[in-house]
Symmetry: D2
Subunit: 386 residues, 4 copies
Amino acid sequence: MILTTTLLDFFLETRQHTEDICSPLEIEDYVVQPVVDVSPPKWHLGHSTWFFEEFILKPHAKGYKQFSTDFSFVFNSYYETVGKRVIRADRGNLSRPGVKEVYEYRAYVTQQIKDLFAVNNDSELSKLLEIGIHHEKQHQELLLTDIKYILGNNPLLPKYTDFPEEHAIDDHRAEWISVPEGVYDIGHNSDEFCYDNELGRHKVYLQTYDISNKLVTNAEYIKFIEDKGYKNFELWHAEGWDWVNANQISAPLYWHKIDGQWQHYTLGGLTKIAHESPVTHISYFEAFAFSQWMGLRLPTEFEWEAAQDSFSWGKRWEWTESAYLPYPDYKKAAGALGEYNGKFMVNQKVLRGGSIATPKNHTRPTYRNFFHPNLRWQFTGLRLAR
Amino acid sequence: MILTTTLLDFFLETRQHTEDICSPLEIEDYVVQPVVDVSPPKWHLGHSTWFFEEFILKPHAKGYKQFSTDFSFVFNSYYETVGKRVIRADRGNLSRPGVKEVYEYRAYVTQQIKDLFAVNNDSELSKLLEIGIHHEKQHQELLLTDIKYILGNNPLLPKYTDFPEEHAIDDHRAEWISVPEGVYDIGHNSDEFCYDNELGRHKVYLQTYDISNKLVTNAEYIKFIEDKGYKNFELWHAEGWDWVNANQISAPLYWHKIDGQWQHYTLGGLTKIAHESPVTHISYFEAFAFSQWMGLRLPTEFEWEAAQDSFSWGKRWEWTESAYLPYPDYKKAAGALGEYNGKFMVNQKVLRGGSIATPKNHTRPTYRNFFHPNLRWQFTGLRLAR
Amino acid sequence: MILTTTLLDFFLETRQHTEDICSPLEIEDYVVQPVVDVSPPKWHLGHSTWFFEEFILKPHAKGYKQFSTDFSFVFNSYYETVGKRVIRADRGNLSRPGVKEVYEYRAYVTQQIKDLFAVNNDSELSKLLEIGIHHEKQHQELLLTDIKYILGNNPLLPKYTDFPEEHAIDDHRAEWISVPEGVYDIGHNSDEFCYDNELGRHKVYLQTYDISNKLVTNAEYIKFIEDKGYKNFELWHAEGWDWVNANQISAPLYWHKIDGQWQHYTLGGLTKIAHESPVTHISYFEAFAFSQWMGLRLPTEFEWEAAQDSFSWGKRWEWTESAYLPYPDYKKAAGALGEYNGKFMVNQKVLRGGSIATPKNHTRPTYRNFFHPNLRWQFTGLRLAR
Amino acid sequence: MILTTTLLDFFLETRQHTEDICSPLEIEDYVVQPVVDVSPPKWHLGHSTWFFEEFILKPHAKGYKQFSTDFSFVFNSYYETVGKRVIRADRGNLSRPGVKEVYEYRAYVTQQIKDLFAVNNDSELSKLLEIGIHHEKQHQELLLTDIKYILGNNPLLPKYTDFPEEHAIDDHRAEWISVPEGVYDIGHNSDEFCYDNELGRHKVYLQTYDISNKLVTNAEYIKFIEDKGYKNFELWHAEGWDWVNANQISAPLYWHKIDGQWQHYTLGGLTKIAHESPVTHISYFEAFAFSQWMGLRLPTEFEWEAAQDSFSWGKRWEWTESAYLPYPDYKKAAGALGEYNGKFMVNQKVLRGGSIATPKNHTRPTYRNFFHPNLRWQFTGLRLAR
């Protein structure tokens, strides 16, 4: 457990960092929601604030006065119950509350949390604060990927800001790491923060396997495209094949073939593809099809975790073959926080690692990210196994 | 034909009025598109400007330099062909160009038109300018109704500005106006501006009929609701009945029953319904069902036009029983402007009159407005006939 | 009014003719419903029978014993209220009641009607019987066009039976018939049977017009196709253009280009297109686009009716420019029979004439057929006007 | 490997059994397809025959003459490529080929297989035959559950035939079976036939667990309903909750509450629910929610397989918590048969056991059945674990 003073610093840094991410935006950019998976930046700002208000201030700060009663349903991500006057509105249809008001809301809640923790350093409360901070860090990553989607699907392809991390090259020589058969321990195992879905450290038996020390590169992926990988149904899951055809997918998200040359939209604008960078913005369906084309496969999340000491990771979320399922003895948290993970444990695939959009200290070897197999607006790539 | 100096004033006034309509908005309000029929205010600002650029400046202003080549497809309302970099984006998904840039675009084009007309008072050009002005006036009405939709579907129900016209009461005593059988002349018949769909003045034979001197009021409509008009399939067209059930319609748009009392969202905010105001924000399906419930009917557009001298109108668009069809000898304009009206002449109903959102001088006895029978975000009401 | 003995013969002939239409079918053909507009033949057999049971036998035959209480909701075409055990089933999902049972139902109801009319020749009852007969005749036409759809969309393209009428050629020389301006009487005007939508004979003022003495031929329509009529958005309504693109329409229904030659499925099987036959199986959207391509237009239903003495008709339903609307003083019939016509008077276009599938004596100069503008499984063609 | 003579008997018995399943049907029942997951019985008869023709007779029977070239695309379950004349037709829209012709097709192919195996007892061919037999057995189960769906969704709720197995009661006293922690061997391990998805016997580490010796009963499930299990979102996956609400699910499939009493449609007709029978026709979502309500969980497929010696099973497919994924070293079969299993390994859940509809000898302890989590027209139930 982190000391309260440190924790409060961590809180303030996190709050600040969220706003830093938004600093290059125009007000208009805060509002739109081009597809259902992408939320308006304004909503992320409000929702991460609402979380502290709802779970800490309202139950624990004596005499706490809500910033606005309307906000509780505007910024609740899972609002089953809707207020009388809400007419089925998607997040991207809401021009109000405005950006300025949302920043005021942030400032108000941040101050109230400071005031509360000045007088209360109760460990249960600290635990909640820690969850809220990690929750906000998760939204920092979504904020960045949602901004990329908003700008990258605008016909003007506006630049967000320089973001050289997108062009990093992994210059290791590709090698197989061999892992011997045996029983391995899987799951979180320290006093550091983790989510409930990582807990229940347990034994898993792994057969002998090899895992690559490198992510698949753009150059390799272009060969797959050129070999008509997107046209060969034998490489795809039946649902993947339907997805390719229904959406006319023929390259990773953000890729454009212009005058015979592959370019892609990056946070820094439209640019040529760097052949030696890891491929990214692919769905699980594409990762799987690529592995089939190679005559190889994706690792399971357990294989990944057991070997992760032996390779570098953290630049791209890595699709695994594992479905997102509860660990043995998985216990969901009590109350509303119990909705955090467990209810999503069906029809999703686990991703391991972390990405260039992941805030510092917000991933770890046991971290289990998860998305539906067709999604690709996150920085998602793949590592091969056999 | 209006003199060029007067026409230019008319142009400048119109340009200014569009911006005045937007003056109470926050930047965020300019961006959203809650349903497909509603466009973002930003888009109206840009599109009405693009119209002048595309049809006057580009073909007629020597050496004209486009403000931005990207704008031609962002602000083209019927863009069949899309530029290379456009990824199927709805208008409400576009955060860029920003509001400031759109206003710069407006100022630039307004100035260019001034410059052009300073040196050219050619009558063909004046005609195009006149069309552009009327086009912008049509968008002024849409702008206001779209703003109402954007704010009125926001759970915070924010006020736009005081707008007392919404609460006006028609205190005439209801009376039937009798019109004798005979041949009547229908269609535009003067030198004043009109659209192509009003032209081809022609004779229509009308049977004897009565038409009300008043619009149906909220009080009358509430009786229809209380008599379970929305539950009685006999009053409805088959498609109207499907619409009622699929959308769970039980009152006009913007109406909310709060603590047993009918209130409605107006541009001035949520307020009690004035019983003696004309009912508005109803679809043709509702207007028809109401007339059936009364044992009466809607007038045709010809009955309306032949009698319009005898009653006051212009506060609410009035649904008629007429389908939107070409007049005999209808000729659509040549070129792109020919797409203005003719291609919509199927599956729509004619509305006559005008509304409190219609700009001054932008309607007339022969004006033919048209919408699909399910739409109700315009200020639409009804007048009975028998 | 027809004498009862003659009427009963008319009834029996009609009942027999319905079954004759079905005689070439296999049992399996009676069951399927490939699209929502097409009903299974079994359903037509049952529904036309249910009509007599529901509106004549149940209210008027003393002590009448229903054939089966379940059938009332299986064969009711507009069943708003559904029995307890019905689970949202489309007509084509019902394997039971079986074909044999449906024929038993027909025989039972036919006999009961004979028995009833043997003792009761009341004129109100005769009127109901007459409506029932005409209702069944309408379903005879649908039966035939639905059978064509079922077999013509089966990959085996099975033959129904020889049906030479599909290949008839109109060898008149094309000529314009000129009709002078003036007031014309429109609507039904005799003691013979007609539907409520034809009543209310009234005056209509027509401007001078010309109407063709011939339907448009396949040869002419092929020129439209070859001139890229389906690719030129200027010829189409906006909704027509959407329909063409969403459904990838490039020729009339049932047309197949095989080895460079146009063939079409007919009730007699796949065969070459006869160039001099009238084009058929086109939607209103296509009829309109063709007329635009010719620089001409479709006649209104009033123009058609006023001129129909001067040309031959009855081989193809002819799309008109008129929307399906009530005549002045239209009164819908009381009770359930009032649902027959009025509730469809929105978003549909009028067709005049009759087709090779229309039973003898089941059309007349004032008959108003109507369909949505996108439908084309009926035998629908067009005649030009100017 | 089974001897050829025995194998041929097995083949003939299987072919006969398929037809026996259909013997209570009316011809009309063979044709319909009420939902996309359910195929018409006629199609199962044809498809299981086509499989032998396509994979055995065409490549291996010298001079083999196809019964009909059209059938290859009518009865191909995964037809990516469609013949020229096929117009996007769903299986339930095809009235032809008729039932009689399909039986002739069966007889023809059965005879040809007999003839072929009379002269060729090649082991590779025997292997293909064995796969074809097992393929047909799988379709026997689908045939029965599809028939149940067809008849059970017909408003007449017709009886198929007496089928007492549906009412069987499990009168064991409920007990927990404890399984100690350790490494277990999972996967097929004999010379008997199995599918590729069962192969790759491998070690799995299981933590200590308890598994029930009994399936959950109707009585227990009714308590869940009465305790408002379908109204409590905390028990459901987010996607399950959406499914419940979108489809208004409030009980297992085929259940009807009539006069306050639970009844259900069975193959023998509508009948009262036997409280002590295992609950069936529930989705994975429901099985999971029920387990949550009990404070327990579903077993994984590995837990099930490791313990299956200790309880009786085979009367209901049992949902497990496991996603359908490849075993380590999974190798899909070469050629078209490789499409059999692997391409479905995403977004589906594993079911273990077998059901009263499963043909004799067609399941085994390592058999992995799989369906999407929302489906429930199979005989699906659940067993609890902790």
